[in-house]
Amino acid sequence: MTALLEVEDLSVSFPLQRGLFRRGARLRAVDGVSFEVAAGEILGLVGESGSGKSTTGRALMRLVEPDSGAVRLRGTELTALGGRELRRHRRHIQMVFQDPYSSLDPSMVVAESVGEPLEVHEGLRGKVRDERVRDLLVRVGLSPRHLERYPYEFSGGQRQRLAIARALAVDPDVVICDEAVSALDVSTQNQIINLLEELRAELGTSYLFISHDLSVVRQLAQRVAVMYLGRLVEEGPSQRLYAHPAHPYTEALLSAVPVPNPGVQRRRERIVLPGDPPDPTDPPGGCTFHPRCPYAMDVCRSVVPEPTPVDGGGTVRCHLHTSGPVLAGGSVLELRAAESGAATDTGS
């Protein structure tokens, strides 16, 4: 697979305005993030609240201006485009947002909302546009007669279908789904996930699927990237990542998701991370995860880890793989297995 979308060393920060004399401080929401999405691939981006997932997505769309880094779509450097040029290229990369209730303009009927990209990019109007919108509605599993309806008349799941239809209207190469299913009931969530999978198979569109829900991402993504406090801590094929997490944070995250099976869940050994995610305005030095990391070493406090390749694909940023016990691309689970053999007290 060749990379369709390349993101290289992307950083985004927001100004912090606090006090009269502390101006100039900035919050680094995204810090040196790199990844690639291949054609027809779904890349899952997971992480806890505030880790910078949405900001990454918005930076790709140039909805926020990145501080540095490059975003290339089919080799075109999006970060270098401006004005009209940028607007033209926006058709290749579209977005579906989290909140199905506010992502559709309440004052517009479906035909206008979903048809807006067609008007803007292809200058379609009136009947021609409506025809295309009808097709799109059918494609996302809605009745073509919904054309003259207002968003408020739809349920959350239906609205999310509308949002997807709008994103697909101009045949984009990449669709960024920012928590596109988080606001929905499990069952509805599944319907949308099924729809996305179906569309990917049918149209070969690539997706950047942002979610905090690991199990949802696992369902959909071929590859997964994990963010913590603005940095990508681990990335790799989902099979590998779920079965053999290489980063302690990934491990903890997976372990924290309760398994819907009482027998298993009760017996399962769980890692409960102490404390809260750190304050993004004042991140810890070195590896930002070190204050909560059960395996933290001295080096973690001072040195920012570099990406290291992982067995089975992907990369990880963790000193455990280069110094200390030297996992060298192996799974952290090995470490735990080794440890629990010796002393059985690493859990809560």
């Binding site: 499990v186 069952s187 369902q219 409960v272 809260d276």
Partner: protein, 327 residues
């Protein structure tokens, strides 16, 4: 002996279309020192039921025409608000979904906890504050004494929820009702919270009602589960049995929709949408969405059938069906 016994509870609300029954015939019991899970889709009446248990339903727009709620033998339905207020926060406490908005932003954390203590215990302001600090310490807030002087916005989401728990347990209630206490939290924080709640339940021997959407959480913390659909209890079971042999098709559907470890690429969904109160279908309320529906399902409203003290279903075909859960 059940510390909390809800039987045959109806709740009605005044709406544009007149009085609408939102919760109907709900019964369950909570044992001291164990956790009862209350699950169901959005709008199935979980929150309404829990509010009814604390007498927190809006006074003029709601009504409990039928049923009984007994807390340690005391009947709460029909009790005057004044006496209910004495019981709330003292014998039965509640924590809510949004730790962000459930704490009053205008007062310090310590103040809000101490207020509860002073309301129910005849103690000095100072002693109440000491109790508040102790409770914060108990729920694992570091430097409890100084953090008690913080305002809610100075706390992270997890710490706020800890503070809510501290507030709930500071008078050592017999029953703790937790309405989706972890839904708004990150999974790593959720794991902390589940451990903490389990620990508090065991330390204080409380009975706990735990409301959630997430069957994973149910599997983690609940001993028994009650499944609600469209305002009714459709299934009740202990947790292991429910996950292996769901007693009701709806329960099976919920379980099937859970993303599974190494699960299929194609996800199960419960087709259609839950009915809105006041527009429930005749017969079994679930039958329009049920893959097992037969003609008689549409005919008469099924009763909740008890198998034994713990297990019940509201499905007329439960005997003939062989329902399977993931576990």
């Amino acid at each position: 002996m059940s510390v909390l016994q809800v039987s045959d509870l109806d709740v009605r609300f005044a709406t544009d279309r007149g009085w609408v029954t939102v919760v109907e015939g709900v019964s369950f019991a909570v044992e001291a020192g164990s956790t009862l899970g209350l699950v169901g889709e959005s709008g199935s009446g979980k929150t309404v039921t829990s509010l009814a248990m604390l007498g927190l339903l809006p006074p003029r727009t709601s009504r409990v025409p039928r049923g009984s709620i007994r807390l340690d033998g005391t009947e709460l339905v029909g009790m005057p608000q004044k006496r209910l207020a004495d019981i709330r926060g003292n014998d039965i406490a509640m924590i809510f979904q949004e730790p962000m908005s459930s704490l009053n932003p205008a007062f310090t954390i310590g103040d809000q906890i101490a207020e509860t203590v002073r309301r129910h215990r005849k103690v000095s302001r100072k002693a109440a504050m000491e109790r508040a600090v102790a409770a914060l310490d108990q729920v694992g807030i570091p430097n409890a004494a100084s953090r008690a002087r913080s305002y809610p916005h100075e706390f992270s989401g997890g710490m706020r929820q800890r503070a809510m728990i501290a507030m709930a347990i500071c008078c050592e209630p017999k029953v703790l009702v937790a309405d989706e206490p972890t839904t708004a939290l990150d999974v790593t924080i959720q794991a902390q919270m589940l451990d903490l709640l389990r620990q508090m339940r065991d330390e204080l021997g409380m009975g706990m009602v735990f409301i959630t959407h997430d069957l994973g959480v149910v599997a983690d913390i609940c001993d028994r589960v009650v499944v609600m659909y469209a305002g009714q209890v459709v299934a009740a079971d202990d947790v292991d049995h429910l996950f292996s042999h769901p007693p009701h098709p709806y329960a099976e559907g919920l379980l099937a929709a859970m993303p599974q470890v190494g699960g299929a690429e194609w996800l199960a969904t419960i087709p259609g949408q839950a009915p809105t109160p006041g527009a429930v279908p005749d017969g079994c309320r679930f039958h329009p969405r049920c893959p097992y529906a037969a003609d008689r399902c549409a005919a008469g409203a099924p009763e909740l059938r008890l198998f034994d003290r713990h297990r019940a279903t509201r499905c007329v075909r439960s005997d003939e069906l062989l329902l399977r859960g993931p576990a």
